[in-house]
Symmetry: D2
Subunit: 149 residues, 4 copies
């Protein structure tokens, strides 16, 4: 499979911490899941939907419903990993996202991921509708992000 990173309009950087490795000598598989969460949080924050203030005001948060990850290359302490993210499907109350963890230090792909998240009403403990202008919100944020990058 060829991954075209240029088809992604957003990424979030991380440098592998010592505590994020394990006794196999490389980055723990758990770390990849944390980097995907970081990218997702940065993205949703950029949309204005995932700050502490916004979540407190709206009474809404996001919860993870499903996640997949495929590990391709080992990564090591202090490698620079950029987690690319794009929204592949917008549902009524859910978002599907795709991820590429790209290792800038070794110029290879650490892993590929996918996730489904659900917009969630804290009071009712049920899923809730996403803002109706999600496509615009996403496009505006990604455009802003690209212009700064």
């Amino acid at each position: 499979m060829t991954i075209d990173l240029n088809s992604f309009r957003f990424s979030s950087p991380a440098r592998i911490r010592f505590a994020e490795t394990d006794c196999n000598g490389h980055m723990s598989h758990v770390t990849a899941v944390i980097y995907m969460e970081q990218a997702r949080a940065d993205f949703l924050n950029g949309l204005g939907l995932f700050s502490i203030e916004e979540m407190t005001k709206s009474g809404k948060t996001f919860v993870l419903a499903k996640q997949t990850i495929e590990y391709q290359n080992q990564a090591y302490y202090y490698d620079d990993i950029d987690t690319y993210l794009r929204v592949s499907r917008i549902g009524r109350s859910s978002l599907e996202m795709e991820y590429v963890l790209f290792n800038r230090t070794r110029n290879n792909i650490t892993g590929l991921g996918g996730s489904t998240i659900v917009y969630f009403d804290v009071q009712t403990q049920k899923s809730t509708s996403l803002p109706s202008d999600m496509p615009q919100l996403i496009d505006q944020f990604e455009t802003r992000f690209l212009s700064k990058a």
Copy 2:
């Protein structure tokens, strides 16, 4: 989907730590991945393939190639989670596993998972053949486990 836990012959218990929750107030999704790793490690240790001593002697370890997880119910600090695990496919150098995270405190399913792991030669940094008697190793361990449970 009906999950028949009786079709599983192995499980590994954990109690959710405070540090394993997040500011959504529930168990972090990351924790589920760690519990799956713990169950896998307990299982592979039971087979005699994943102790420090064995890995040092054989020069072989297991690495995670692929993982999926589907979250079904929120879990909370101090809930007791049993992670059930079974091998669904034995390849030449890979194992496919299925997981159910069962919340004993709330009597519901926290999540369902799947993973593919690869037996890995540390020296050559390549996959390596599993022992040829894997089915017997697994059956003997699970029988031993069940008789103690």
Copy 3:
């Protein structure tokens, strides 16, 4: 220094997970801090002060004010660590605790710790008085714990 584990009346067990090691090949120092938290949570739960239900009802929680740890011996994946804990001082709204992380697998001390925790009112975001019968609560819990051990 001689540590007399018999002077402790409470301990909490953990087995080192793969994800709790680092690329130095041993247990991450971070793990020790998590085990101390687990022992503390088990202890405070035993006192009836730190369950989700109790904290929701009382509007009170505990926060960590200070912690020290001294690492003595390396510990490894799958070692069994018992974290011993005792209360060394009861203040108006704070508790001082001492910890010994004892490695049962290697029969040595992984580390020694100390912490100060503060009883905290979530509404006012200020420290709050501990129950006046803390010495009795502690003695009763430890006696119950010892009788089961």
Copy 4:
């Protein structure tokens, strides 16, 4: 106590991840320990003593011998924390360090820390002498760091 951040010549930035919070709603105390490790790793890497390549070549690493931390203010998801670090004592094989975790988002101090680390020979599993020119190494790195900041 007054902390003069200007007396520090090095810091390392982090933004609090969702997974680094806990169900008290704030940054987990464990996270502070990880940020101190990150600052320490960045610092030791800057000295040329803590990269994978250097550690493999020299057969030497650093292990944590002792750590203290005092928590001063709660920090929250997505706050920006700068961990300031300075060496307070250079021993034969050990370094003592002081830390300030400064919350840039809230303009207050999250915590103050201290640690002792030991230079460690992986082969002999014993402490080993630090380079004799540690004061110069440190001064050169900090000067370089300040000129870039």
